[in-house]
Symmetry: C2
Subunit: 242 residues, 2 copies
Amino acid sequence: MTGKLYGLGLGPGDPDLITLKAHRILRVVPVIAWPAPDTGPSFARAIAAPHLPGGQTEIPIVVPMRTERFPARDVYDKASGEIAAHLDAGRDVAVLCEGDPFFYGSFMYVFERLAGQYPTEVVPGVSSMMAAASAAGRPLAARNDVLSVVPGPLGDEELTNRFNAADALAIIKIGRHFKRLRALIEKLNLLPHAIYVERVSLDAERLMPLADVPEDTAPYFSMILIYKGGEDWIQKLPGSKP
Amino acid sequence: MTGKLYGLGLGPGDPDLITLKAHRILRVVPVIAWPAPDTGPSFARAIAAPHLPGGQTEIPIVVPMRTERFPARDVYDKASGEIAAHLDAGRDVAVLCEGDPFFYGSFMYVFERLAGQYPTEVVPGVSSMMAAASAAGRPLAARNDVLSVVPGPLGDEELTNRFNAADALAIIKIGRHFKRLRALIEKLNLLPHAIYVERVSLDAERLMPLADVPEDTAPYFSMILIYKGGEDWIQKLPGSKP
């Protein structure tokens, strides 16, 4: 009997926003694997930390942050090999994922290597996009709105088309593209509709109209929400949690 | 001291997919309100049921299903009035929401009536869109994909533009539009990329290539996921949970 592979969605950051199912698995799984940048600690492991009973075997998946476009193949090959060895020995392995595993998550790189060979279950999680709308006190989308999720690294022309076409937008992966994105949003007259959310659901959460952000860069865990026709919501924003 | 209003995201249907936070609130809140169609039971209440200690005051929000385009104003006015009376008396009230409260949720109609007057907290939940991708064993979106969430009631021309523009699509509110949507998806040569998911995370879950669905209509709690370039995933689909 081989072990089972879990892709475990852990939600946006607040350890209280993990699901009962993920919590139950975390309490008993003998092996956990978690992604971490080579520049700092693992966010996914930090979300799980208060729930871990201790004594698990841990497999860090340390991803170099230099390469934005392509996943580090060697890193995922090696980690998948380590995970497979535990599965072959009959031990379940949970790969910890911030947010939801299949919403722009790196879990897919482990999944595509192992899911065909081992019993696999993906446990969905609360996405930071949903948490950001909750924190902003504003619907992400409603009625017959079209909502588009748009990665910030895309070029200005494509972004312009996307921004013009959607009723509601979540712009992700903004980081070093922040200044360019804000300029584009302003040029398209969407600035009055735009909310900036950083480190949502954590103590360090920041939330304000995009127009009021003093910095020219943003951390990895940040997002811009745009809801056309939503000026009235923006004006009510207290700049903090409701 | 007035009570606090909660918009409580309860996830896609499996009671195990609610968050620790929503669970804790359900265990202690003295008043719950929940939406139900005038044609049947409340899905949100069914998700919460295993977690309720019993003895709460309950406020049904019975929504007529005839009117698709506009929310039933009188229904939300009346329900909000009842909720407000409890809040005025110092009792917390949790409005139960399937999925996430601010992702196309009807909670916004209560929120817009009461949030300015009472302390309010929205607790995000796992969306059925995330759960559908998990069940399908296929990323919803990855890398620099643009993901668009598109309501089925939109017209064919607008749908065509949306379908052509996005890398990944989640088509929601398909119900009686199912036949028209499938014909359009076939016309645009997207049928090999399309997965149909119904009642995700419940025992009654159905999941199959859209091309294989025998019916010409779909229930309210169903969705179509399209991931261009995803033929390989579709072909691997077992037609059931991984």
